[in-house]
């Protein structure tokens, strides 16, 4: 997989570069689509795979997302999110739509409960530039108490509402809300600098 930037660059430079890629997509530049794919496909595929647990379905979601970017790059709003967040949340949303269509909410919960922790090895696309940030995100998620990480994973990867999490796990709704809030407070505080670098 080629890395478009052989040298480390600042996050703001990457964000600018990503926005430029979308501008080239609007102009119909196929090479820009290939470059966008090279940058983000491994992360988006991992996300779709995590949600769906089905490589074929994940692959279809990834293709849909990039075709959406190709056809609707003009709808991207840089005031609303970075390009990476736009693509990640689009992928998550589409994968969860499929998950719900398959009506496998219970199975998802079982997967989340039994699967390996999120923080794994530090390899990945854009590893030269993003390695430190990825390590921080993994470390902070890994540092969350297990019960807080559980509700976050069920919401983020399972697409479960807090009421659904309560019904699925038997945890009182108020406890689900408290755990979610505590997790978010910790992550927001811990990743503060990384977040601002994306703006």
């Amino acid at each position: 997989m080629p890395l478009p930037h052989p040298e480390p660059v600042q996050t703001s430079d990457r964000s600018r570069h990503d926005r430029e890629l979308l501008g080239r997509l609007v102009a119909g530049d196929e090479a820009a689509l290939g470059e966008l794919y090279d940058l983000f496909a491994p992360t988006l595929n991992a996300l779709a795979l995590r949600v769906l647990r089905d490589p074929s379905a994940a692959e279809e979601v990834v293709q849909e997302v990039f075709l959406h970017a190709w056809n609707r790059a003009g709808s991207y709003d840089p005031q609303r999110s970075s390009v990476s967040t736009w693509l990640v949340l689009l992928t998550r949303s589409r994968a969860i739509d499929r998950l719900r269509t398959r009506n496998v909410v219970d199975r998802t919960h079982d997967h989340v409960r039994h699967q390996a922790p999120l923080h794994e090895s530090p390899r990945g696309a854009r590893r030269v530039q993003d390695g430190d940030r990825k390590r921080r995100v993994r470390a902070e998620l890994g540092a969350l108490p297990a019960e807080q990480r559980q509700v976050l994973e069920l919401a983020y990867y399972g697409g479960l509402t807090q009421s659904e999490i309560a019904a699925t796990t038997g945890i009182p709704l108020g406890t689900v809300k408290t755990r979610t809030l505590l997790a978010m407070k910790k992550l927001r505080r811990a990743l503060h600098d990384d977040l601002h670098a994306l703006l």
Binding site: V62, R72, V88, G159, R188
Partner: protein, 83 residues
Amino acid sequence: MGGEGHDRALEELLRALDEAAVEGEGTTGGGTTGAAGGGARVDDAGARRLHRELLGLLADALEPQAPPPDLRRRLLAAARAAR
């Protein structure tokens, strides 16, 4: 299809972040108002964007998984056909 507007789980996570901002560092993210535990809200588009970015960052916790090698070729062919 394609947006997240119908995504209640995502919206609840965003609301939790808004509340965390109110209870935590106050206006660090920008434009938060409301009392902790009741009516917490984010007035500022910048603060809400910050929270969206945090949810985007969570994908960084996953080990990247390269799609099948031919997906790139198929994608570019489909894109060409779509124009």
